[in-house]
Amino acid sequence: MKPAVSLSGVGVALRHATILRGIDLTIGEGEFWSIAGPNGAGKSTLVRLLNGFIKPGAGQIQILGKPLGQWELVRLRRKIGYLPQNLAFDEGLPVSALEVILIGRTGRRGLLRRLTGEDYRVARGCAGELGISGLLERPLGTLSGGERQLVQLARALAQEPELLILDEPTSNLDPRAAAAFMETVERLQRDRGLTVINVTHEIASLPPGCASVALLKAGRLLAAGPKDGLLNRETLSALYGFPVSVEQRSGRFHLFPGGN
């Protein structure tokens, strides 16, 4: 399978602290990967590298068919649907859900070109695909946390991305909304054949459709590969630094403190 993302010996140091070191990872086109690990493991830094918000201090990154350094960053970012962690915005700002989704079309359209009927059609189509057509005229600040995340997902889809990167997308959602959100992502990945990279610190949030995981600990890649072979008691105890037991129910992995 053709790689969508390939990292070789990648390292990052920010303000004299090493955040990532020696990362080797290949993610194929159309695959659904999760990058998991405890807080401070370097997960968000890893995905911020991919859309050029941070430059690697060492190693090579190949993304969407070209070395990262050969991409004009604005063009690369237009191909990546990115949901940043804890996106802050002014809740009183006068913008509707539709206007936020249209931001996804803004970069693609380019400077000095107006949004067209096609842009509106795509934006409304993405909202319809996620079941949020009824929210389009609502101000974003009046929506619930789960609804806002769906609007952001629709905005990312409106970019017609080749790669979808989700940085802790369910961290502010209740368990029911989190499960519903990840099921939606899973369906999109399956139906559209999207390459998805999902960052999480909660193993339980991994949907059954996520086939592969990369486990990061203290800036190093502890393990990477098919989820079913990796998410066992030994690996996850080593990942989190204390004994855990693992149960698999309905395709999901649940962690409990204390090993048996």
């Binding site: 996106l87 006068p94 509707s96 249209l102 996804g104 803004t106 359209r109 619930s144 905005r155």
Partner: protein
């Protein structure tokens, strides 16, 4: 006084037209300033203009161009200063404001008497405007509106979130800095024509009043412009009818309109029922 009779006077017609231009230009730019929460830009730019004018008088340069140039240069510096220091733009505005005020006072201190001319350069009077002033105001207002139309979708994205704007492939820094320069240039051009008092009220009050009525950015521009024109027009009429200072009347009218908007605000009333989660 019969205010209709005043229409026969050129100075009054000029003032009315200037009020409309200022009402549209400043209140539209005010939407960005209110949404970005940087009202300090008005004070910072006015002191940059004052410093520019003082430097020009001391060195024999053209005061109007020097004032405009230094203010625009300062507005160009706000964004990079905030980004490089990783601080809120209000902090960089505070730094620029204090530096420009210091430079202006230093220049005034060094200048020979009389010094009123220096202050007069940047604290205009709407009743003393020439045709050239009106043409300059019209040109800047038109240029501002044109830029907003050309970059509306990018400005909207940057106002919502600079992080997100960058993530979707918008040249976010270019757009953000352009927005700051547009704000700075509009403030500066209107400063030496309508004066600081009227200007500051026209930047903040109509936009803050419009904020109370809409959840749509496009509608906010329109409402703000309409309220800006009403504020300026009613202030000028009040001033003419009772022979009162024009700038003060415009400030009072725009503040009353803001107060009324706040009292009638559907947003405020819905917020009183508590935020949704």
């Amino acid at each position: 006084m019969n205010i209709f009779a005043l229409w026969d006077f050129v100075f009054f017609r000029n003032a009315a037209l200037a009020a409309v231009l200022c009402g549209v230009g400043c209140s539209v730019i005010g939407v960005f300033i209110v949404c970005m929460r940087i009202p300090l830009i008005g004070v910072a730019m006015s002191h940059a203009a004052l410093a520019g004018a003082v430097i020009a008088l001391l060195t024999g340069l053209n005061p109007a161009w020097c004032a405009f140039g230094l203010a625009v240069a300062c507005s160009l510096a706000i964004g990079p200063l905030a980004d490089r220091s990783r601080m809120d733009p209000n902090i960089s505005l505070g730094v620029i404001f204090s530096l420009m005020m210091g430079l202006a006072f230093l220049g005034i201190g060094l200048a020979p008497e009389p010094k009123n001319e220096m202050l007069g350069l940047v604290w205009g009077n709407i009743l003393l405007l020439s045709h050239a002033d009106l043409i300059r105001m019209a040109a800047v207002t038109a240029a501002g509106l044109l830029l907003i139309m050309l970059f509306y979708k990018e400005f909207r994205a940057v106002l919502f979130s600079r992080t997100l704007a960058a993530a979707v492939g918008i040249r976010e820094r270019l757009v953000y800095y352009l927005l700051l320069v547009l704000c700075g240039a509009t403030v500066t051009v209107n400063l030496d024509t309508v004066g600081g008092l009227m200007l500051f009220s026209m930047i903040v009050n109509p936009a803050a009043a419009a904020w109370q009525f809409t959840y749509r950015l496009g509608s906010m521009f329109v409402i703000s412009a309409v309220l800006g024109v009403i504020s300026a027009g009613s202030g000028i009429l009040l001033s003419a009818a009772f022979d009162l200072p024009a700038g003060a009347c415009v400030v009072i009218c725009s503040s009353l309109i803001f107060g009324l908007s706040l009292a009638l605000s559907p947003k405020r009333r819905s917020a009183a029922h508590g935020p949704r989660n």
